[in-house]
């Protein structure tokens, strides 16, 4: 039984200027693994992540043959059921802690709240759990950090708080939407290591949305490559160097390398046919 199954997911933004078909016929399944969704900006990768949590705005049309988490049909379940799903079973780490943390609530309370939504526990118990969680994301002085406001902590620390907040209810799936791209290069690796350690320890599946093939190659098990709202290729991460789709190959080739010096990076030629072909697997 797959944890998450997605079949022919389509997302359309309805605006005054007409409809924009952002995600076309995306299908994949997720088991206990680390799945990456890779693509350039506008390829629809973040929209897929939002659709899984049913977070798209009301003017967005989402259809799918199947969009199911275990037994729950995400598209048709009630508001109450989807709320029970969010956080408790599927949660999401967003890009920039500067914006994704509530500026007027202490970080500790925000973490504790994530737990208290789904568990019947006292304020005190939640506080203790949150402090323990802060320790787990390698924050040195958790008691002190608990009472701080988001603007008082650094970006790397903010993203660790975000991870703590999303891991604390021990969900089955975490969707990480470019979790390190807003961070300083020096702390990106730390944050990734912490995330990796926690999801392995708690046995959480990961959907890692990124534009960075290099990162994904090392970090994930399997990669979906998206282009123009479609999945053009689905491939195991360790076979990426043997990718068959020209787009994937193009992405791989345009990565600069320290070992092989090149005068110019190749510019990709794009084939309109990619927008209609069936994905390669």
């Amino acid at each position: 039984m797959n944890v998450l199954s997605v079949e022919r997911l389509n997302v359309t933004f309805c605006t005054d200027e007409g409809d924009k078909h952002a995600v076309r016929d995306v299908s994949f399944t997720l088991n206990n693994e680390k799945l990456a969704i890779v693509g350039e900006s506008g390829s629809g990768k973040s929209t897929v992540g939002k659709a899984i949590l049913r977070l798209n705005s009301p003017s967005t049309r989402v259809t799918a043959d199947t969009l199911r988490f275990k037994e729950t049909d995400i598209l048709t379940c009630s508001e109450r059921e989807i709320r029970a799903l969010r956080g408790q079973h599927i949660s999401m780490i967003m890009q920039d802690p500067k914006f994704s943390l509530n500026p007027v609530v202490t970080v500790g309370d925000q973490i504790a709240e994530a737990l208290r939504v789904h568990r019947r526990i006292s304020k005190r118990q939640a506080r203790e759990a949150a402090i323990a969680m802060l320790q787990e994301v390698s924050i040195a002085d958790p008691e002190h950090v608990y009472g701080q406001y988001p603007h008082e902590i650094s970006g790397g620390m903010g993203q660790r708080v975000m991870i703590a907040m999303m891991v604390i209810p021990e969900p089955d799936i975490i969707i990480a939407d470019e979790p390190t791209s807003a961070l300083d290069v020096s702390v990106q690796q730390d944050v990734l290591n912490i995330l990796n350690r926690l999801i392995e320890k708690k046995n959480i599946s990961l959907i890692f949305i990124s534009h960075d093939l290099n990162l994904v190659k090392k970090f994930c098990d399997r990669v979906l490559v998206m282009y123009g709202g479609r999945v053009v290729e689905s491939i195991r991460a360790d076979e990426l160097s043997n990718a068959s789709h020209p787009y994937t190959r193009g992405l791989m080739e345009s990565l600069p390398s320290l070992r092989h010096r090149r005068e110019t990076l190749p510019v990709m030629t794009r084939d309109p046919a990619w927008l209609t072909q069936e994905p390669l697997t």
Partner: protein, 338 residues
Amino acid sequence: MTRSRYLSVVRKVGVILITLLGLLTMTFVIGRLMPIDPVLAVVGPDADSSTYEQVFREMGLDRPIWVQYQYYLQDMLSGDFGRAILTGYPVVSDILRVLPATIELASVAILFGVGLGVPLGVYAATHRGRLGDHLTRLITLFGYSTPVFWVGMVGLIIFYAWLNWAGAAGRIGFAFDGMFTQYTGFYLIDTLLSGNWEAFVSAVRHIALPALILGLNSVSFIGRMTRSFMLEQLSQEYIKTARVKGLSERSVIWKHAFKNILVQLLTIVALAYGGLLEGAVLIETVFAWPGFGQYLTDSLLMGDMNAVMASVLFIGLVFVFLNLLSDALYKLFDPRTR
């Protein structure tokens, strides 16, 4: 305190001082422009010319205009605002006497403004683009567009003359005048402290209608501001985070978005309170409410220059103070500026 912060405080104080000087200058200019002869107002129409001359000199009116300006500033800064011709008392004591009535009226009105405006704004923001939003927009624009004095009269016709729900003009029924001790000058509180329940009911019946009507404008103002503040917050990323956690829409709105607009809202309420003083000038005239607004219009119509100038200056001061207050509230309560 850091140097830059110190400088900004100095700058701020400077700006306030310049504004205050400007207020004084403006009232001085208005006073000189007045077509009313200030000497005649003091000595009366029957005075002979020598008395007139004497008073004219005593008031410094024979001096050059800039010397008069200097006298004026000296008087104002030493707290001497002159005597009101109408009442014969110093203007300051007059203003202090009528002020509680206005504060009571404006305070009830602002409670109404916040109590209705905030939920209305939140509702509109969370139902954006739908019928409820359009209706709220229409309601708040109505609030902006109605002449307060006219609604006051229509209210009197309907609720006093036809339905007899509201009390007539004034702060309390005639029968209760002087029947309770004035501890604070606020009748709602004084009647309760005196244990005079019937007087309290009468006071409520008298204040309800004018306060509601006075508050209409602030309902609109606060409602529209709340809506736009909320819309701004609801589009933020942290709202998405809150939803991802599995919070109910109600918690998302009140615990997260609303908590972020509280400080902004507080500053807006301070400004709205200033706006109420403006409406009070009209409402007090309609309802014969013996407060500051009526004092101002009475003095105006009687040509009582001292009283008018002091009242205008006073309102200017209150406005400057409320602006400062709203600034200070922001600094005090927003964790980002602490």
